[in-house]
Amino acid sequence: MNLQFLLDGTLSGAMIGLGAIGITLTYSILRFSNFAHGDLMAWGAYAALVAVGAILGGPVPVLGLSFGLPLIVATLFAMMVASGLALLLDWLLFARLRARGQAIIVVMASFGASMALRNLLEFIFTSSPVYYSSALQIARPIGLGIRITPDQVALLVLTALLVTGMHLYLTRSQRGREMRAYAQNPALARVVGIDVSAVIRTTWIIGASLAAAAGVMVGVLVQVRPLMGLDLLLPMFAAAILGGIGSVPGAVLAGLIIGLSEAAAVQFIGAEWRAAVAFAILMAVLLVRPTGLFGVTER
């Protein structure tokens, strides 16, 4: 049996997990499921594409990777663009609707925003896929019949760093503690003098930055196209719910579970049914254990 699917699943699971962190934080702190999150991902990927192409003059490969310093700088730029976009959307749309107190209206607005953002990308860049680099990667065998490319190693390390950093930030820093406090009890958090607007800003910046990073990774490993975020939206929602809303380690672990299950489905059932896996897992979680792996009982 070919075990390559384990690596493929881990990689796509890492990207789903990174995206799901943003969804789970938005849900637990801002209290709505953000249907535009996948589009922040796609916008991040395209921002990096523009930066790599125009500003920095094309990718310069190092160490056998298909990308080099320019793409890393471009990823930082993409994170800023996605964060800016998220803050702009919040200021224009979500914050105003949140103030009216009907959470589901905010969900609907995010759905409208998602359609607009995605089609704006199609308008600007057309729907045909593009790539950061046309460099070929040589996969090296690492035993058990699994082969890995230098890009894949780099992205796995980067994901591990981002997730660890995020976990430490949320558990150790003052702002991280404030975010968790606000998620648990918004009214009490206000009373003890937590700067709510700073908490909301941080939530958007973290969520959008990780989405942009995940978007660039999908771009490096697969391709960049306007629908990339929409295709990952269901797996990301499923990961956030399976992991337990509000739990960052849960989102990442659940992302890996979903990525691996999808890869297994591709291997054993057929690639065309891949997208149904996340739905099957989502339904199972909702019917059996809606709080997810690490979730707390609903407030």
């Binding site: 849900y27 709505f32 499921s33 249907f35 749309l93 105003r96 609707l97 009216r100 009907q102 959470a103 589901i104 209206i105 969900v107 609907m108 607005a109 759905f111 409208g112 925003a113 998602s114 359609m115 607009a116 953002l117 089609n119 704006l120 199609e122 308008f123 057309t126 729907s127 929409l230 939206l233 269901l234 929602f237 499923a238 719910i241 065309e272 049914w273 997208a275 149904a276 996340a278 739905f279 989502l282 339904m283 909702l286 019917l287 809606p290 609903e298």
Partner: protein, 312 residues
């Protein structure tokens, strides 16, 4: 002149099919406050069910039962209603967002089945030769268009009357009570989850019926008809019309469809050929922005009831 009448017949037929879908969504959202992001999926279930039941026998796929059209429509209502009921059953004891996420998933999976289960749905090529009501009149396009319009208008009217009756009935009052003040309604002994599942199922069944009617009106269906853009158009129609009002849902559907077709025709004239595909995306961007603007500044829509649906 005859062409023009035929064209308007076609335009209004399409718009009224959208109106039926919007009426279904209005029962789910306008009356009950349930957020369905997978409208396209439920419409597709209805369309495919009816197509499979009524098409003539086909060698390369299951079905082709050649049943009467009305049986197809009934099948569409029953199956879409059942899928909606199950979706509601799985999610309506949880927070509202979970229903939204699940319906989104339903649409993804239905699209996947439509594309890949070739033996059932015909795959990317879809199903053709779906019998059309009064198909004997096809030789005379004008009469055929007008008869079809009359059929669709009658269904729209019946659905609208049925929903009006439902919303005035004790059942409808419970739904409104649940929407306005859930705790009060529960304290009066009303089972919130059960009522919501019922409303979601009836709304879904109406969407399925609309899908079936459309399949028989066009005579051909394919997975491309049931993409998220459809869901989005229907939401725009409901929000423009004003959620909570059946009259608003119908007028909103006609108005948004007119704007959509108008914008498409305009861009076909104005925008050079190479940019046509891009212009189509810009059309969706505009509707998205419109939806957000309505949510921000006119949540009661333009043809809604005098009293808003309590959004403030």
């Amino acid at each position: 002149m005859i062409d023009l009448i035929g064209y308007f017949g076609f335009f209004f037929s399409t718009a009224l099919i959208f109106a039926i879908i919007t009426l279904g969504l209005n029962l789910q959202w306008g009356l009950t406050g349930l957020f369905n992001v997978g409208v396209a999926g439920f419409v597709a279930i209805g369309a495919y069910t009816s197509a499979i039941l009524t098409t003539p026998d086909a060698a390369d796929r299951i079905g082709g039962f050649g049943l009467p059209i009305l049986v197809g429509w009934l099948g569409a209502i029953v199956l879409t209603g059942a899928v909606s009921a199950f979706t509601g059953f799985a999610t309506l004891r949880l927070k509202a967002d979970y229903l939204a996420i699940t319906t989104f998933g339903v649409a993804v999976v239905v699209q996947l089945i439509a594309l890949n289960a070739q033996g059932l749905t015909g795959g990317p090529f879809g199903i053709a030769f779906i019998p059309r009501p009064f198909g004997g009149l096809q030789a005379d396009p004008l009469a055929f268009n007008l008869v079809n319009l009359a059929v669709i208008a009658t269904i729209t009217l019946l659905v609208s009357l049925f929903l009006g009756h439902l919303s005035r009935s004790p059942w409808g009052r419970v739904l409104r009570a649940l929407r306005e003040d859930e705790r009060a309604a529960i304290s009066l002994g009303k089972n919130a989850r059960s009522y919501r599942i019922q409303a979601f199922a009836v709304g879904g069944a109406i969407m399925g019926l609309a899908g079936a009617v459309q399949a028989h009106f066009i005579g051909f269906i394919a997975p491309d008809n049931y993409v998220p853009t459809l869901t989005f158009q229907v939401w725009a129609m409901l929000m423009v019309g004003g959620s909570g009002s059946n009259r608003g849902a119908i007028l909103g559907a006609i108005l948004v469809w007119a704007v959509w077709v108008g914008a498409g025709t305009l861009s076909a004239w104005v925008i050079p050929g190479a940019w046509q595909a891009r212009a189509a995306s810009l059309q969706i961007v505009m509707i998205g922005v419109l939806l957000c603007i309505i949510l921000l500044w006119r949540p009661q829509g333009f043809f809604g009831p005098r009293r808003g649906r309590g959004m403030e």
